[in-house]
């Protein structure tokens, strides 16, 4: 399938979804007014990918800031990865955060508690 690369802006993160290299990353800041519009492509890509995923999918998130509209979209992404996991695929979410950013650590823990998929908190 086609790889998806979205370059970052002051309000949206860098997205790399590359099934050839096994790189799945969302990094930077995610504070768009229209988060649903931004994440639609990402969600569609993951939906398509989940039909025949690699033997292992490690999805990296490293966000500096995100707004509450993005938080719903992130949950939608996690739900898709959770479904892949439940379907017997090897999936891991890695939530990277600045080690002195307690708020971002806490947000990661919030998601962790809501999901049934390997979800690792990685202080950087």
């Amino acid at each position: 399938m086609r790889n998806l690369v979205i370059e970052p802006t002051s309000k949206t993160p860098k997205v790399i979804l590359n099934a050839d290299l096994g790189i799945f990353e969302i990094t930077g800041r995610s504070i768009p007014e229209d988060a649903i519009g931004f994440y639609r492509k990402v969600l569609d890509w993951i939906e398509e990918y989940s039909k025949s995923p690699l033997s292992e999918t490690v999805f990296k998130f490293q966000l500096e800031y995100f707004n509450t509209s993005s938080s719903k979209c992130l949950l939608d992404i996690f739900r898709k990865l959770e479904r892949m996991h439940k379907n017997g695929n090897k999936v891991q979410i890695r939530w990277h955060y600045d080690s002195d950013d307690e708020d971002m650590a806490e947000t990661g823990q919030d998601y962790q508690a809501l999901l049934d998929v390997p979800f690792e908190l990685v202080p950087v």
Partner: protein
Amino acid sequence: MSMTYSYYKNMQLNNIIFVYQGEVTADLVSSILQMVENKLEGEGEDRKVKKRVFNVMVECLQNVYHHLDALPPTDPSNPVRDKTALLMIGREEKDYYIITGNHVLNDRIPDLKARLDRINRSSKEELKQLYQEVLTGTGFSEKGTAGLGMIDIARKSGQRLGYDFHPVNEKYSFFSLEARVSRIPEK
């Protein structure tokens, strides 16, 4: 021109970093965020504090932006015809404060007030639970993420949200919201 000095003194007295009155667009929100972020950066504010202020600012400003969008086109006979708002950011000795002001339909006040009061009554733990309920769609039934925004503001602020509804006419009131972020990092 004689007013300029008194505006200046007034802003200085109230520790106002930034004030804007006018139409709120996505571009404007971006510019304000950029400007205030640069200012916080330049003044060497604590990193944690800076992040919190930025986060709260994003939610407050976008709240107003979405909120105004949600207002129906106003009746031409209505005196409140514009979609303008007030955005204000200040820095006191102990806190940063972010104040927004915009018109709301009077019909919406009871719901808005109930939500704000519930948030203000909630403990840190209760806010976390409420956040998760709204995030997963089992919390207060309402469209979009406006509910989540205010809970997030309260969580990051760690202080009660200040608010006021100033009656404008039989249809509208002016809603102001104040969120404070402590400049003294915990621990």
